[in-house]
């Protein structure tokens, strides 16, 4: 056995190192299975110290490494490129401290997003970023991807809820980044680290902001005869100055898949599009705003507008929406999800165009949309064993991306660039832009050992 493996074993314990190829196989992909790279080893640290010492050993050998949370990423971010080692944080999953007075909590990076919310819900708080992968994804992964969720429309994305970080730098040194309150002293390195896709180091302790649960919540479901009508409702609502807590759209293909699943929430399967709109805040404002929203829905030709009458009904609506991605597995077993963002006002014209692209390539597509912020997830459902279909998927993705960029949009709203979208970076950024990013990265990781091969299209700092 190689020496560095022995050293890792002596740091984290024999049982916390996987090296048999048979057991490394499952670590070859995240939730976007189209990309596969098996790691050379997987280690399970339980302390910051473990992470720091392991990273040092790997650094001495020039072996690249990558942090992994729950592997729910949708951009191939947690894959070990170039024969790297995965540092799996699932066992660093303790909530270390809850500071009720200052409404913050300190957690280890492997804490599951929803576990934190559950731990603070009894006293009326939650951790606001609520990606649909909430029951599984880790807060470390959320930080790395600057994850978002349906309710981030009103409450802000992950970075708005991160107050401090303990980070193991790629050379093994441990630093503490802080932004007490809203502003940082000196440079806002917390802001820089959040969304760095695991390339600036490994977060080992995260201080998060806890948010009060709203006093009142109202959740509506409206269904429309056309996608355009639903998109127009979204635009009208926001133009009128109403900011719902969440505003989610599902197209017909998605609704059908959800209704077939165990999470069926009674959505009409003959509608072209369904909107789920949630309003929260003080009871009076919720009532007023919901009457406005109902008005916009009706004015745009909604066939039904239904208000959830109980918490159970509300939960059922959300369960349907949040399990939509998995439910698409009923259409076909390989999924390629896009994550483009476009200016909200262009939704009514861009969506039909995307359907036309899928049609042209003879691909089945389902679409969920964080409609409130123009974040689209057109998802192509295909059979990965069919080489020709695979090629068509690739070509369609490229066209969809180009379309979105053309109307003033961008590549990713929340899933990150990772491995998957590196090829599109030049659609948006110039050489100089990318150069600047590479230099920032080099400050944290001059040797390029930490999650190489992601985000930046040119491998400037290749280690070997």
């Amino acid at each position: 056995m190689t020496n560095w493996i022995k050293e890792l074993q002596s740091i984290v314990g024999d049982e916390n190192v996987l090296i048999s190829p048979d057991e490394l196989l499952v670590y070859e992909c995240d939730a976007l299975t189209i990309h596969k790279r098996a790691p050379r080893a997987v280690i399970f640290p339980t302390t910051t110290e473990h992470v720091s010492r392991s990273v040092k050993v790997l650094g001495e050998q020039g072996i690249p490494f990558v942090a992994r949370g729950a592997g729910t990423g949708l951009s191939g971010g947690a894959l070990a490129e170039a024969g790297g080692v995965i540092i799996e944080l699932s066992r660093m999953n303790r909530i270390l401290e809850i500071d009720w007075e200052n409404q913050r909590a300190i957690v280890q990076p492997g804490v599951i997003n929803i576990a934190l919310t559950q731990a603070v819900a009894t006293r009326g708080y939650h951790f606001a970023p609520d990606p649909s992968s909430q029951p599984t994804c880790t807060i470390g992964g959320n930080v790395a991807e600057n994850a978002s969720g349906p309710h981030c429309l009103k409450y802000g994305v992950t970075t708005d809820h991160i107050l401090g970080l303990e980070v193991v730098l790629p050379d093994g040194r441990i630093i503490n980044l802080d932004r007490h309150g809203a502003v940082a002293l000196g440079y806002d390195l917390v802001g820089l680290f959040v969304g760095s896709e695991g390339m600036f180091g490994i977060a080992t302790r995260i201080t998060v902001r806890l948010t009060r649960l709203p006093r009142a919540v109202k959740t509506l479901m409206a269904d429309f005869p056309t996608v355009e009508a639903a998109s127009q409702t979204v635009s009208d609502t926001i133009a009128a100055g109403v900011i719902p807590a969440a505003m989610e759209m599902m197209d017909q293909a998605t609704v059908r898949a959800v209704e077939e699943s165990v999470f069926a929430s009674g959505l009409p399967i003959d509608a072209a599009a369904v909107l789920i709109i949630e309003l929260d805040g003080l009871p009076v404002s919720v009532d007023y705003e919901s009457s406005r929203v109902v008005h916009f829905c009706r004015a745009n030709g909604a066939r039904h507008v239904i208000v959830a009458r109980s918490e159970a009904e509300r939960e059922r609506l959300w369960a349907g929406r949040k399990n939509a991605f998995g439910a698409l597995g009923r259409i076909n077993s390989d999924l390629m999800v896009q994550d483009a963002v476009i200016p909200r006002s262009r939704l009514p014209e861009v969506l039909p165009e995307i359907y036309r692209i899928a049609e042209r390539y003879r691909l089945r597509m389902a679409c969920v949309i964080h409609a409130g912020d123009g974040n689209l997830h057109p998802t192509l459902c295909f059979d990965g064993r069919d080489a020709d279909e695979l090629r068509r998927v690739d070509a369609a993705c490229k066209e969809i991306m180009e379309l979105c960029v053309r109307v003033g949009g961008t590549l990713t709203g929340e899933h990150g660039i990772g491995l998957d979208k590196v090829k599109y970076m030049s659609l948006i950024f110039s050489e100089a832009d990318i150069e600047a990013m590479a230099r920032v990265r080099a400050v944290f990781d001059p040797r390029g050992l930490c999650n190489p091969g992601k985000v930046l299209p040119v491998h400037r700092c290749k280690a070997f």
């Binding site: 996987l18 048999s20 048979d22 057991e23 196989l25 499952v26 670590y27 992909c29 995240d30 939730a31 299975t33 399970f44 729950a70 592997g71 729910t72 799996e88 699932s90 066992r91 999953n93 492997g110 599951i112 576990a115 992968s133 029951p135 599984t136 994804c137 959800v258 077939e260 699943s261 165990v262 999470f263 399990n323 939509a324 991605f325 998995g326 439910a327 698409l328 597995g329 009923r330 077993s333 390989d334 999924l335």
Partner: protein
Amino acid sequence: MIGSMTALNHMIDSEMDKLRACVHCGLCLNVCPTYIERGDENDSPRGRLYLMRAVAEGRLPPTTSAFARHIDLCLGCRACETACPAGVRYGRLWEAVRADIAARQQPVHLIGRFQRFVLNRLFVSRRRLRWLFAPARVLRRSVLLDRLARMPILPLRLKKVFMLLLATRPPRIERFRPSVQSDDVREDHDADRTTTFPTRQAVALFAGCVGRELFDHTNRATIKVLQEHGRRVINLKEHVCCGALHVHAGEVETARELARKNIDIFELSRGETLITNIAGCGAMLKEYGELLADDPDYRRRAQSFARRVRDISEYLMDIGFRPGPRPVNVKATYDAPCHLFHAQRVTKAPVELVRRLPGVTFIPLAEAHVCCGSAGIYNLIHPQLAGEILHRKLNNVRRTGADVLLTGNAGCLMTLQSGVIEMGWDIQVMHLIELIALTYE
């Protein structure tokens, strides 16, 4: 070896569509007790499916010990199915893979080999079972058992066996016996009883093989409650083991034979419904249709049989449950057996029943639908992991402050009760039907 390897590939091939249904979203990870404990993707549902798929695609030889080990470490609790939006039928796949591993290799554990003998030779006959359990019944009544179970020098697994046996003793319910002050008793009750249930519908009771030998008290309680609801109860004396243990251990052919016998016996009994109070049996009985899908003689009959099976809690809710009049003053909580919650999807009925019992304060249990680690003889084969899983469960139970922990499955009951005894806590674990029965006394 080669021949059986292709058999495995063939089997997985035929299940390929089910395997491919997994889109790798990971939404099943944190309901899986082994993943929660170990945090290793290989011990998660998504990972196990990935391994099966790799075998099917020829990327992983099915003979690797890692494959067998991670499949073996699965509890078969099927919590992952309840969480899966894509509708992956994990349980079916897992059972099929287990069957093949069992056919191909000698069991990894000595206990496994012994298990195979017991299942294929002893558990197939009612008479042999009586003999098998006779010493257990004698020992159970003796104080010797208390000593044995607490002897420090015994090997861990043997100790566990004694502990489990200790846990099958009838619950000490004297202390909960309802007070008979008549003002507590609801007056309208007796009148109701006769008017609501005019027909004496006949139902058959599947007493369970271990149930019949060790849980007579549970069966008696079940009969009592059914009678209180105007049912005539046919005791299916001749029924054999449901076959769940066999399917779990990969002995599918034996399971099919047992299923055929049970179908014959139930048909002869002329019962309308087949009632079980053991979640594991219920789940199996309800799957006879699929188990015998390729049997031209039995396919139809198996399907109609399966449709008539009801867990006692589900059945009571269906027919309009009437609790007895006497209050039982306890704080109770309920742990959902996986085979009831995940496999049969009977999720609300048991809690609903308990909530309606006079005098009972119901306290919900955190993570009630996560496996307790019992899973057949899992706790004997993997005592350490099972112990960690059980610990998490017991701590949750402790936090409720309940003095009675209810369940609906013999295996869970034994595991939970033995855990409680080991902790030295004063919590009584019992089948919920026994608490219900107390309200009629």
